[in-house]
Amino acid sequence: MALDQDQKRDFKIIGTRPLRPDGIDKVTGRAQYGADQSAPGMLWAKMLRSPHAHAKILSIDTSAADALPGVKAIITAADFGDMRKGEAMNVRDHIIAKDKALYDGHGVAAVAATSETVAKAALKLIKVDYEVLPHVTEIQAAMDPAAPVVNAGFVEENAPKGYSENVISAYDFGHGDLKAGFAKADKIVSRTLKTAATHQGYIEPHACLASLGADGRGELWCCTQGQFYIRELCASILGIEESQLRVTASEIGGGFGGKTTAFIEPVALALSRKAGHPVKMVLDREEVFKASGPTVSSEIDVKIGMTKDGRITAGEAELRYQGGAFPNMTNWLGAQCAFAAYDLEAVRANAINVLTNRPKQAAYRAPGAPMAIYAVEAVVDELCIEFGLDPLDVRLKNAARKGTKASYGPTFDDIGLVATLEAAKAHPHYNTPLGENQGRGLSCGFWFNFGGNTSVSMNINFDGTVSVTEGNPDIGGSRASISMMAAEELGIPYEKVRTIVADTNSIGQNDVTDGSRVTFAVGLATIKAARGAIKEMCKRAAQTWGIDEDAVVWEDGHAKPAGPNAGGFEPLSLAKIARKSPNTGGPISGHHEVNAEGAGVSFGVHLVDVEVDKETGFTKVLRYTVFQDAGKAIHPDYVEGQMQGGAVQGIGWALNEEYIYGEDGKLQNAGFLDYRVPVASDLPKIDTVILEIPNPGHPYGVRGVGETSIVPPLAAISNAVSHCIGVRMDELPMSPPRILKAIKNAGD
């Protein structure tokens, strides 16, 4: 279905690789991140955190801390409003505990003081009287009917019966007759697979500078993926009007979904309001691990039936996701994605959400999808081995394509999975011989992508340059891509366009930078804004020439007479029209506001070779290739960067990264020494192959590319390791001890 009939195909700038506009600022240190802003009279904020995983707060005595010289304000949950429902309430209660501490590291009180040293000293003087409660941090234990209730009041009407109150919801998707489907299979494999909670691992900790007066007017500078959503949350939590709080997004040192919500900003604003001074708050790494939002951990039961010639006859999955002490959306997204790569007559996926004494999960690139697809792709791989079938051929045989009824309901339009699989099969990587102790794995991946609320403003400056103002923090190169789309549409050089990310009071509402939406939605709005400006420039040229507006066309950055009958006028360039705009009616601009729909889904295939040292259990990634449908790659460097970055984060998730909780309910590895992300020396070059199957919902065919790439690595690497050691791995991360244990168990 063509949603945007005006698709453009003959590009001059799109698809090239111009220099990134933020590069010099970032390598010279001129870029301003969350912690880089200061203000006169500024105070420093620190948070007192619960040492218990679950404890009733009997009393908080701040009198000694209040008396410490230099302390200007102390707040607790009592300083916030009494909001009783909604996500803003959950965000508030996750940041600062009301009557119960719900996880190790849960905020209990916050201090603003004249220095960090004084603030830290004050924390030690706050006396909190806790009644320690039984805790639960793991899925099965939390589901037990006798489990301690983590956070009451969240059970939805469709929650499954027979479990504790920690099991709050179920979301069930699928179609067809499972019983009949499994009856057609020559072999059925059932397996339970587990993944650990991981952190997005962004380099920049959360940081902000807040100023809020007693009159309710405020300024907030913070590192975030969405300044408008931060404003909405803070205004709700603090009981102020959104128009009175201006939020400016800093440069951002990584987000990956983890900066789509608030962890510190309401606290800094509340302290500022109480103290009457600006307040700066910067988390340390331990706090980031303990009290921001990692992803869920999961247990997934998968059952798949296959004929001996490789046709999948039925697929069923039961997903159990824990995302800490509050509800999350990740479980239903996982259930919808689990079988999305396959064209199945009979399929069902059911997701259960379990509360535990852990921090509230946050989004992490394609939230919920990597673990669900890991489980399905591992079982498909196992069936391929059973029948001695080529895993790529099996996926091609069963691949979703145009006309497939997706496992989550809709019928697919133009999608790129088959083309992506065929590209992988034809690639030299797939046929390169493996050495001793080496294995090759592959996996499909899927993500929805979406658009959302978007507002763009474009000014045609008097000197013939163009300023684009948009409202989404640039976490993956969007300023370059948006400038390129503006330049392409206007027909001017890329260097003549500058795109900036505006604060909340300088541009219309924009949704968060998430869902792989920005290049799609902001790009779409930019193109439409440019078309508005072009219409006005054609009108100005028509007035100048004294001809009808319809007799003017726009080509290569010039207004031209539409044909010989329109008159023999010299074309007018954008710069000439702009220079004379004060004489022809005033400034020229373009705007577009839209709730962009029609984001095309995205598929990817990852291919990986590994070598496992069977004495130590160490896995070395030898070769890695990513194949992904980008619709249209606006700036291929950034698209490749997204594909490589997702693969690298997925390698960490598959091999090393995990939140480890002790029996005391405390996080054991809250730092990069004990929580090991991949570094450059761990990795081969990640090769990329971009497929371009245009999205009919975008003028240039763009699909989001930021999330799909983290979906396949978990299964691809697990399959490679399993082939290598001859044992099916069913739990992530595949750390050396876990691999050694699997080898030993198989030998016993």
């Binding site: 279905m1 949603l3 939805e156 009407e157 469709n158 179920a170 979301y171 069930d172 998707f173 699928g174 179609h175 990956f256 979904g257 983890g258 789509t260 959306m329 990740t330 239903w332 997204l333 919808q336 069902r348 059911n350 946050a362 989004a363 992490y364 690139r365 394609a366 939230p367 989550y408 309901g409 809709p410 019928t411 697919f412 339009d413 993500w447 929805f448 992508n449 979406f450 658009g451 959302g452 998430d514 869902g515 792989s516 939406r517 709730n595 729909e597 029609g598 984001a599 919902g697 999330e707």
Partner: protein, 81 residues
């Protein structure tokens, strides 16, 4: 009338029906009709839903048109990272 597919765990509110028929010409009218005809769906619709109309997922656009022969799939609210 438009046929609307209901996901599994909501079917307790539709007497087990996987597909229900409602009178509607757009996204909002589908939701209004579902709440009116199947009150048990109201809690989920209040929490948030998206809708796939002829293969395109609409997150919240009330006036996205729905034709009598459209494929309409009720989905939970989309989110991303």
């Amino acid at each position: 009338m438009v046929k609307v597919a209901i996901w599994g765990s909501l079917r307790s509110a539709t007497d087990g029906a996987a597909v229900v028929e409602v009178e509607a010409k757009n996204f909002k009218e589908v939701l209004d009709a579902l709440v009116r005809d199947y009150p048990g769906l109201e809690a989920q619709i209040e929490r948030g839903v998206s809708m796939a109309i002829d293969g395109v997922i609409f997150k919240e656009s009330w006036f996205a048109p729905v034709k009598p022969d459209s494929e309409v799939i009720l989905m939970p609210l989309m989110a991303g990272g």
